[in-house]
Amino acid sequence: MNNPQRTRDNPPRTNNPRGTNNTQRTYSFIHSKSYLKPSSSDLPDFWNFHQKFIKIKQRQPPVTYPIKKNELGLPTTFHTQHTVPFVCISNKEEDDKQKSEEFHETLRHYVQFKTKQTFKKITKQIEYQKELPIYKFKEQIISTVNDNPITIIAGDTGCGKSTQVPQYFLERGYQSIACTQPRRIACVSLATRVSQETFNKYGQDIGYQVRFDQMLYSNTKLRFLTEGLLLRQLQNDTELYAYDLIILDEVHERHLHGDLLLGILKGVVERRPQIRVVLMSATMNLQLFKSYLPDAPLITVPGRMHPVEMRYCPTHESALDKPSSAKINPKPYLIILQLIDKRYSKEERGDLLIFASGFAEIMTIAEAVTEYDLEQGNWVVLPLHSTLSVSEQQKVFDYPPPGVRKCIISTNIAETSLTIDGVRFIIDSGKFKEMAFDPTKKLQRLQEFWVSKASAEQRKGRAGRTGPGVCFRLYSEEDFNAFADYPTPEVLRVPLDSLILQLASMGLNIRTFPFVQEPPAANLNESLSFLQQQGALRSENELSGIGEVLARLPVEVALGKLLLTAAVLGVLEPALTVAAGLNIQSLFNKSNCRGEELQIRSLLESGKGDLATLLNIYEEWSQKKSEGANTRKWCRRRGLKEQQLFEMSKLRRQFRQILRDHLNLAGPQETLDSEKVLEIRQAKWRKRLEEPARKMLKVSHGKNRASNGSEDEISDTEEDDISSMEYFLTNPQPNLDLSRHVRDTLNFVSVFGLYPNIAISDQHNAEKKPSDFVFHTQRKNFVVLHPNCIFNTNFKELYPSNNRAEQLLAYSTLLETNKPYLTSVTRIPGFTTALLICKEVSTNGDCTDIVCDMWLRFTLKLSAEDLVHKAVKIRQKWSAMVADVLSGKIDDPREFSKRQSRFQKTLSSFLRSDVTYTLRVVKSTELSGLVRYEHAVKLDENITLNSVQDTGSSEMEAFLKRAWTCKLCGTAGLFSLSEKSEHLAKCQDMEEEEDMKKIEQEEKKEETAVAMETASQTRKIPTREYLCEQCGEVFQFTNVEILRHIREHDSKPP
């Protein structure tokens, strides 16, 4: 480095993205406190500039001193040096004077150059905002909102309402604004967008808040948040005192949460007239909102849209009633592609967006187009659906090379959620798929429907965003005229369980709630009775203790019940995983999974079913993560989506936090490493501010779809780094070896949560091939296992003892696509589980014929009286534990955890009881008079003896004394049914007491063993004999343990 010329001849290499090459080290002005730091993201940009600047500089003569000045005091000879209004300082000076000067000169000009560039961007931004259609309405909007509690702003795509309206109020000095969005991703992107548009100080004024992620500061004035999240906030702040202005965006989309917010805010405004509410909507279906809010003024803003030419190309085929499993015919799509190729010059840019109904349709069309492209060579095929990862979705935004058009084949995700610029042609199949809920069968049905007029217009509009376009509709104008006007709002087609719970927790009555559109009475009644049956509601609008907790959990009732029960029974950690796993999209990668991956993955499968498999996968993954292994590769080799696993880890944390907040449970409070939190926050900010790099699409014809190459990996790494950081911040070490009773309890808890989603094997399964197995649920017969279910391959596990009637299956959803499928299945021992979870358990006189929920009928050779009585005991203990947890009566967490572990052992051995029986479904012809309670002996509110009328003698059975010998104590004599019950209960109590003593002894042994082991393992801390004067016992204690022991006595006086 002696020769300063060297730098000039060999300018620093700029290909290193982090700028960590040798040249940089030669400049000591780049240090941790200078303008350019070694970590600065603009460092490579600077080196780039440096290289060019030096070349230019060589052409310019240096400033000559002394500088001659004219009468204005300005240098007479022009030099760029004089045009820079600042100096750049650095705390360290380079020894080499010349190089130091050179560097500072470059830096000054670099900063000058950047300043001009940024200024241009700023003025362009300001101009752009003024040109938006909504800008003309700015003053009108502000004054209307000032004068009215609720205002409706209607405007179509391109008018700028989502980005501008919140800013207008921020500018007007509103201190706390909430703007809701139906989608998480929109919250993040709008916050970024608006904070850039308002040039606010590094995002402090504007933030966002979505599930698992937020960017808020104490002085944040405007936050974008999801509709669901604002609803959650309403549970604690029913009048929304936290805000002075609420903006509900995209209300026309009519999501369940949006509808709910509308109704709630209507009430809030009445009670708190100084709050301001703005509803923003597209111009569709305005009449509905007008009549819902007759007093609210309406401001209509025109959209900005280029003309779109309309062509109807009916396929005729669509009119025919084809079976839903049949593949669609891609021919009509190809004809239109040919037409585009023929009519429009390849030089004219413009991409094609095809709206297909679902995944299978997308794949069929993609295949056909890829084949067509083999001849043409000017198309690049890009499927787009919600199961793609974010970086895969990002590809549709990349540029095609000149002369090539993108052919994006999408579900209705591209209708509103994703906006792609540069689309000129649309092919609209006119179809979409939607989940429809059948409340009587408790069945989710994925069905294909015709779209509404509003959706068809929205699809068409996607071609007119950046220029004039063409829309081809694969249906006739008559078809279009027959379409429904608007899509069916969510409130009319989804289960209402969670909605009712949330309303009840805010003290609102669903029967009198001011819905925009009333949900169907059948759905409502079904949900209300379901919630009462599940013990979540005391009456129609009064929550039970369990219901209070369920209303706080952002999951379905079944999962809430699962989590709550798991917390009570001491298996929360693994249950968090199960609940999280049931709350995400599939872990399995559909499109990239061959035999090899399946085989490796099968090692993680559990014979217990899909839930235990989920648990295995997650635990194994976290184990690998904590070992520092390359989990990304690990996941890929097993056909798993790692993003979903990260999602699970976030869900687990959220669930744990909510349960901890609402139940009086033990466990350390989570403390986060604040430095790491800051680091993650900064990493996220950087990522957000960096404009997503749009890349040129690589075209290798015929192979476009199969690009799972290394490119994706790179683009994903940053996201993964952040996910990983977050993961390590909050996740405890995995626990792989759960004991048998913990696993049994977990399995039981899962099944209890899912109940009444229980299925039974068809009695003829024994004679069938595994692929033909059918099952029956209480409300729907002949259902099959979902293709993802592990029992498809592990059918032997389903019937381990070859007794094909023994097991029951619990499932999470009954999903109908082309067949009714059971999803996320777990097997359980039928009889013992039914005794514990069914609402109505009835037996005949001698406990050999047992009917559960008027649906399952167990027939035994030997009396099950001892099991039935034990079941009563277990139910008692269990509800006592639930009650104690809910009422916060747990003073000693250690004592309670002992109680939990004892319960687990009892439960496990009960579930594993050796009992032989046959199981079948009660036939509808048998039903009448099968269960009668006149002569029944009630053991508890669920279990009754002598209520099944199987023989003529049972009427007398209640009074008859029969000879009976107690198996436990050997007492023999004449007993009536109730006497027998009493005796059994006593005997079991005694037996249990003895068991308990044994267990206690075992526990003590275990404890001392553990203590000894840890003492000897961790550090050789010397122990000594210690006689405690208070309890009179002798211990082998370390000094610390002695102190701890004394403290224990102190904290609970005798």
Binding site: S34, S41, F78, P85, I122, E171
Partner: protein
């Protein structure tokens, strides 16, 4: 809340030539978040909204001759900041490169103002 309807301005500076409203967060020679850059004269400064790093940009400053405030587009820095109008009035005192550049810009502004 803001009931009276009175406008609470965030920090905005108006260019007295083209009338553009520009945001700024500091008026002075340097901004605390970016101490490495020191301006010679008092200037309206803004944190670069497009950079993840704490970078500062100037948006406007007072003219050395007439003290009216001009944005970066309507003024030129040549050892001091001068607004476009003063440069044109004193065009003999400035190098031709500077006069030509600002003349085009000012004509644009005048045309735009005449239109609206």
């Amino acid at each position: 809340m803001n009931d009276g309807g009175q406008e609470v301005r965030r920090d905005l500076v108006v260019c007295q030539i083209c009338q553009i409203n520009l945001p700024y967060d500091f008026y002075g020679k340097k901004a605390p978040y970016c101490p490495g850059v020191i301006y010679f004269d008092d200037t309206y400064l803004l944190r670069d909204p497009y950079s993840p790093e704490p970078r500062v940009v100037a948006v406007a400053g007072p003219c050395d001759l007439c003290s009216s405030i001009a944005c970066l587009d309507c003024s030129v820095f040549y050892t001091k900041r001068f607004c476009g109008k003063c440069i044109l009035e004193n065009s003999d005192g400035f190098p031709s490169q500077i006069v030509v550049g600002i003349k085009d810009k000012l004509q644009q502004v005048m045309r735009h103002q005449a239109e609206t």
